[in-house]
């Protein structure tokens, strides 16, 4: 499994033909207490940069953009009932969606873990 990171603070873990998408620990720490998560329907086709999900903290609503293009195969509906999971385990149990990878070249535009860490250091 290879994990990629976007400048919008999403992670993309690719295993075979399926990518699991979530937000990074840095993202959840910036958001603060997450109180609401809205996920796309299974089967929805997302183009890179489309709004894939919405995550709301006490203070504000934020969009989660699709870091790659593909079709949604699964949504983590546990987050809808327990949004606080996003704060507790953002890079594990609190994944947002699983989707197909329609263009592997898009993955190459993303960062690896070391590059993402360096990116966060600059913020």
């Amino acid at each position: 499994m290879t994990t990629y990171y976007s400048k919008d603070h999403e992670w993309v873990a690719v295993e075979g033909d399926i990518a699991t998408i979530g937000i990074t620990d840095y993202a959840q720490s910036q958001l603060g207490d997450v109180v609401f998560v809205e996920l796309p329907d299974v089967g929805k086709t997302l183009n890179q940069g489309d709004e894939a999900a919405v995550v709301e903290s006490v203070k504000a609503a934020s969009e989660v953009y699709a870091p790659i293009s593909g079709d949604v195969t699964e949504a983590n509906n546990a987050l809808v009932d327990e949004p606080a999971k996003v704060n507790e385990d953002p890079e594990g149990a609190a994944w947002f969606v699983k989707m197909t990878v329609s263009d592997k070249a898009e993955l190459e535009e993303l960062m690896d873990e070391a590059a993402y860490k360096a990116f966060v250091e600059t913020l």
Partner: protein, 381 residues
Amino acid sequence: MADPAASGQLLDTPLHDLHVELGARMVPFAGYDMPVQYEGIIAEHTWTRENAGLFDVSHMGQAFLIGPDHETTSKALETIVPSAISSLKPGRIRYTVLLNDEGGIVDDLMVTRPAEPDTDGRLFLVVNAARKDVDFPMIAAALPEGVRLEILDERALVALQGPKAAEVLAKHVPGADQMGFMTSMDAAFDGIDVKVSRSGYTGEDGYEVSVAAGAAEALSRALLSHDEVKPIGLGARDSLRLEAGLCLYGHDIDETTSPVEGDITFVLQKSRREAADFPGAARILKEFNDGAARKRVGFRLEGRAPAREGAEVLSADGEKVGVLTSGGFAPTVGAPIAMGYVATAHAEDGTPVKIVVRGRELPARVAAMPFVEHRYYRKPA
């Protein structure tokens, strides 16, 4: 006065270094670099409802109006506010609003008549940070000869709020726990001169303590040394006041809204309504007697999705009837709540409405405020 917005330079309060030391996340607010949260908004919100929270509100504007006697000073202020200030007893605080000529609200503020006999002719004012540059020139321009405005920009202001605030403050200010709600006194806090007011912006019992800038950190550290007290940021201040149904200036009330539309008619004391001698009195009294076309109300949303400022409010049959001015997840309620303006025909408690969030119409109902019961201290008779 410096205009931080124009220069792009953020101002610091006297407690800035303490916030940073305590691990606060700092954000720009009303021209100041302010703590939005320390450990997290929900934890801080809940702590304040159950224990005592310490808030730095030093960005707010403090000033004295100084005249020869209470009658003269209060009459001067009454030319620009609709509340009865002249009848305010020593040591009492009144919430009021500055009005423009159209009866719109220029700011909301606290007015205190000091308790001490040697301060006769003084009124202590606390105004919103973002409105200082508007309020103070407006007040100064309204004053007759012999009454002057003294801006206290060398003072800090901290709020201690929550059910344990009284027992904590009384350890430093003997007798603070005996003060009535909306009363004020000059006192010594472990030897530091302070003005203590039993008031606040959370719906809980609590105090606001005005102190010289140089002593603010020592006072804050003394309060934070108690296990019952934690520092609380602006994030929880906002969620607490929203649950308490209290207006945030520039959002829930502004220069276009009147006190009647804003549903704060308690600022219109009977003597002033009868005299009809305040700015915009014709409009305000007409609205007071006949009702305004729109009114500030609360909303409870079904489901979990929060709705925020700017969201449209639709009637049950889909007609646009209003707009939200504040909204978010309410930690104590455990659900999303909001406030906003609706056409008066839709303002009754329980009226079903729809609130538009990201193109979706969320079911909601007009709801009585406060959303969380006020727990202000009532002094035994």
